[in-house]
């Protein structure tokens, strides 16, 4: 019973969680490692989670796991050796490379909760109410986070506003 349900969850969420982690960590291998951590943890706790909250649990878990992963990595890797990999071969073909790089740089400047809110709004198409449920804040707080995040992004992406 547990396995078919887990397979369904993978089908529904694996690309979304991986996409989020890839944007958050800006490294393919790291995103793959953390994806496995997130889904393994989900599988172990699956029976205790309300099925209507699978998505919220996975995103919150991915967010926390990614922050922990970054912290751990910082202890071992000096900042100046950070190598940024291309986010996606396919998207690089269709998007301007410079724009991609600017996005990546801009996303790195955001606080974790800001990038999560942007992720949930634009990539997961969640409403403020839904985002609030996932990150444990009020819809008003979500609005403030998004306003702050977008101000930062606009500042870093000024070139594209012309």
């Amino acid at each position: 019973m547990k396995k078919p349900e887990f397979t369904r969850v993978i089908e529904e969420y694996s690309n979304r969680i991986y996409g989020f982690l890839l944007r958050f960590l800006a490294n393919r291998e790291d995103a793959e490692d953390v994806s496995q951590i997130v889904f393994l943890s989900f599988y172990r706790k699956m029976e205790t989670i309300d099925p209507s909250k699978y998505g919220a649990y996975l995103f919150r878990s991915a967010h926390n796991a990614a922050i922990n992963y970054k912290k751990k990595k910082k202890r071992y890797v000096s900042l100046d050796t950070t190598v940024t990999e291309p986010v996606s071969e396919e998207s690089r073909e269709s998007e301007d490379k410079e724009k991609q790089e600017s996005f990546k740089r801009a996303f790195k400047k955001l606080k974790p909760e800001e990038s999560l809110a942007i992720e949930l709004q634009f990539y997961q198409k969640k409403s403020y109410q839904e985002i609030a449920g996932i990150i444990g804040k009020t819809p008003q707080a979500v609005d403030s986070i998004l306003v702050r995040a977008k101000r930062k992004l606009r500042r870093y992406l000024q070139d594209f506003e012309d």
């Binding site: 690309n15 996409g19 942007i118 609005d143």
Partner: protein
């Protein structure tokens, strides 16, 4: 909502306005304001451009190998829980093994001493005790 909103208040609400998260009355008010206020309109256009850029970004697809690893999680977890169950059933096994090993060592030691002819009287006793204990324990385990 009060009668009119100042530019500063509208500026602050433009994000929620663009995201269609405002009550209908406020939304209508802001729509009207944007028609007349150039400054707010400029801010709105800039924010809209950013939203478009963010919305344009493509979704990522996981690799086949990662998908395989995720799909294998139940099987891997099944193996681990199988091992745990096996050890759970024989939770006394490590303790019993340690006792048996000690007794077996005592047996061997006793035999060595006997074969060398030294400490004959005392080691014969301990050898016999160890042997009896070993067989008693062994029988208990087998009978269980």
């Amino acid at each position: 909502m009060k009668g009119t909103l100042s530019c500063k208040e509208i500026y602050r609400k433009l994000n929620a306005y663009l995201d269609k998260e405002l009550p209908a009355k406020e939304e209508k008010h802001i729509t009207g304001h944007l028609l007349t206020c150039k400054s707010c309109r400029r801010e709105f256009d800039s924010l809209q451009k950013l939203n478009t850029l963010l919305g344009e970004r493509q979704t990522e697809t996981i690799s086949h190998s990662l998908l395989q690893k995720l799909e294998d999680i139940p099987a891997r977890e099944g193996k681990i829980s199988g091992i745990n169950k096996a050890f759970g059933r024989f939770s006394l096994f490590p303790a019993a093994a340690a006792v048996l090993l000690t007794l077996f060592s005592a047996l061997l030691l006793g035999r060595t001493y006997l074969s060398t002819g030294r400490y004959e009287s005392t080691t014969t006793d301990s050898y016999q005790i160890a042997q009896e204990s070993f067989y008693t324990l062994w029988e208990e385990i087998v009978n269980e």
